[in-house]
């Protein structure tokens, strides 16, 4: 039974005529649970609608690019962990490949396969956190709990491989920190098998959830043209209908050997961004399983990286030649040719790029980090205008950014 509401219009109009409408200024963040870190949004509100949104960033600025100019190439590896600290393994790989391109190094197939497996595991881990946090932002606590159970299993595998749960520093220039432990790939495979049904369950909590859909469908729509103009990358770009995935289009680290699909959205709203991430996890599992099925043997670091890669520890302690080599690598850094390279990898958050300018020697002259979160957030002033405050929370959750990477 439809109820017709009729407001006493004349009285309401007379009442509002007495008051001048006034914009309100509201600061959301830098410590607000839905700004995922230290993002601050300076908003101008007309009632509950945003008329202006100015993101204030830089609260986590550490000067990583300045630091990189003052240390050797090897020493910078741990700093890449702290960019997108949700997926450090993928960052390590992107940085290592950028410097390998500078040094014209080819890493062996086994190293490439391990990097692919770890990067895809990092993608799953990052997307799980993204989903969990997005769930909390839109009022679905349960998703977070189930997602973190799965992430915990991944962290156990990371710890076994790298010795650290969080800041892994696993890739080295020209190779890896160490080979995979005995039976590790089997355990990753087992994780994938049990993960798929769990993933379906987690996604099932949200995909047709009425509350979740009300909060996300049609909210924060980013058109294809805007996505390209603002330099969006990763799932945020693909949700807007641009099928750009560097793993497919500019394959690196042997991604061309694996079969996987690139999910693309149609509307570019928050819900599409959620769907794209969900599907990407299934595709990551596909890639991991293929990589494990044809896991190559052989060396796991580039043999021609003599002047770059630190020699084995037992050799350093017993052989003069290796001791000197290690001394040179530690004090002078790995010797690189002069020149400049730009490499970007398809990270969970988008394209993480490293622009390395070398004048030769062991220290970069300039290292620019092109961070996907920085570019993805730059669209906020455009996409938030006209939204409700509660929509902003949904948009932030769907953009899935990390301030450590944004502010560098």
């Amino acid at each position: 039974m439809a109820t017709e509401f009729s407001f006493p219009d004349s009285a309401a109009k007379a009442a509002t005529a007495e008051f001048e409408s006034e914009k309100m200024s509201l600061s959301m963040g830098p410590s607000h649970p839905s700004t995922h870190g230290v993002l601050r949004l300076q908003m101008e509100l007309d009632g509950e609608l945003l008329t202006k949104c100015d993101p204030v960033i830089g609260y986590l600025h550490r000067g990583d690019e300045k630091i990189a100019e003052n240390m050797t190439y090897n020493q910078f590896v741990p700093y890449t962990d702290r960019l997108d600290y949700i997926a450090p393994l993928a960052n390590n790989m992107a940085y290592a490949i950028a410097v390998e391109r500078l040094a014209k190094l080819e890493v062996p197939a086994r190293c490439q396969a391990i990097r692919v497996i770890t990067a895809e595991m990092a993608r799953i881990s990052s997307h799980l956190l993204g989903l969990g946090a997005f769930g909390i932002d839109t009022g679905a606590w349960t998703v977070f709990m189930y997602a973190f159970t799965e992430r915990e299993k991944l962290y156990k595998l990371f710890e076994e491989l790298t010795g650290a749960r969080f800041t892994t520093s696993y890739s080295r220039i020209g190779g890896l920190q160490r080979d995979v432990p005995e039976g590790w790939t089997g355990r990753v495979d087992a994780f994938c098998d049990q993960f798929l049904p769990n993933l379906e369950m987690i996604l099932g909590l949200l995909t047709r959830n009425k509350i979740f859909m009300d909060r996300t469908v049609g909210v924060g729509v980013i058109s294809r043209e805007d996505a390209i103009a603002y330099g969006l990358t990763g799932p945020n770009l693909r949700a807007s209908g641009v099928g750009l995935d560097l793993r497919k289009d500019k394959p690196y680290s042997g991604y061309e050997q694996y079969e996987f699909d690139v999910p693309v959205g149609t509307k570019g709203d928050s819900y599409d961004r959620y769907l794209v991430r969900g599907e990407e996890m299934r595709q990551s599992v596909r890639i991991i399983k293929q990589a494990i099925a044809k896991f190559p043997g052989g060396p796991w670091y580039a043999q021609d990286a003599r002047k770059i890669f630190a020699p084995p520890k037992d050799k350093i302690l017993t052989s003069m030649e290796e001791l000197i080599q290690n001394f040179m690598i530690v004090t002078e850094g790995p010797q690189m040719p002069a020149g400049e390279v730009y490499f970007e990898a398809e990270n969970p958050k988008g394209a993480l790029g490293f622009y390395v300018v070398s004048k030769g020697g062991g220290v970069p002259w300039r290292l620019k980090i092109r961070s996907p979160s920085f570019c993805n957030l730059s669209i906020l002033p455009k996409v938030c205008v006209g939204c409700l405050i509660s929509d902003v929370v949904s948009i932030l959750g769907s953009l899935d950014f990390v301030m450590g990477e944004c502010d560098r």
Partner: protein
């Protein structure tokens, strides 16, 4: 690759000041600062490089001229090729380049970052403010003369500073950073064992 080499040839035809730029990976070109918006528009509209992936700058150190180079990386979403476009800022004291925000809205934040870190002015930028450092910060930290430790500066908020007396202090570096400087080093000179050339494996030790 041949398609992108052609791009450079076409660019050269249209903008005679264009010169090839040494690069280890993608095709790269140097352009005159005056050509920048027009050349990037040409690359975007007629050559398919429709995605500005990165915009940054390099400081070649104080006293070097030209001192600042602004570097653009463009990607073609159709062909999946990159091209690197670089331009030297005409002035070393007041570096400035025309803004490309009208071509790519995403250049807005990139240009703000370059302004913040290097002090390069982007003419025609709609809102050129600092982005990573706070408004009113007096230095441009990625310039080569800026020390790694930072410089002692007042707090951004004068009221809090008056109340607490705190300042933004330089980091204690304990004499560091302990690294070599960039550039070609002579390994034989740097390697301590090889410094004394009176006898080596190649030249036997003379009989005493």
């Amino acid at each position: 690759m041949s398609a992108t080499v052609d791009v450079l040839a076409v660019l050269k035809e249209k903008f005679p000041a264009a010169t090839p730029r040494p690069s280890l990976d993608h095709p790269a070109v140097n352009l005159a600062a005056g050509d920048i918006p027009a050349a990037l528009k040409f690359l975007r509209d007629e050559q398919g490089f429709d995605f500005l992936v990165d915009l940054t700058a390099v400081d070649w150190a104080e006293g070097v001229s030209p001192r600042f180079t602004v570097v653009y990386h463009l990607l073609s979403t159709g062909r999946h090729d990159y091209v690197r476009v670089a331009t030297d800022c005409p002035s070393d004291e007041a570096p400035a380049v025309a803004s490309v925000v009208s071509l790519w809205a995403g250049a807005n934040w990139h240009e703000r970052e370059v302004y913040d870190m290097f002090g390069i002015n982007f003419t025609g930028h709609p809102d050129l403010r600092r982005i990573l450092m706070w408004d009113g910060y007096p230095y441009h930290p990625l310039r080569k003369e800026f020390p790694l430790a930072g410089i002692d500066t007042p707090l951004p908020d004068a009221e809090i500073m008056a109340e607490t007396g705190a300042r933004v202090i330089a980091a204690p570096m304990a004499g560091g950073p302990f690294v070599a400087s960039p550039g070609e080093i002579n390994l034989t000179e740097a390697e301590p064992r090889a410094k004394d050339e009176s006898w080596t494996e190649r030249r036997a030790k003379p009989d005493a």
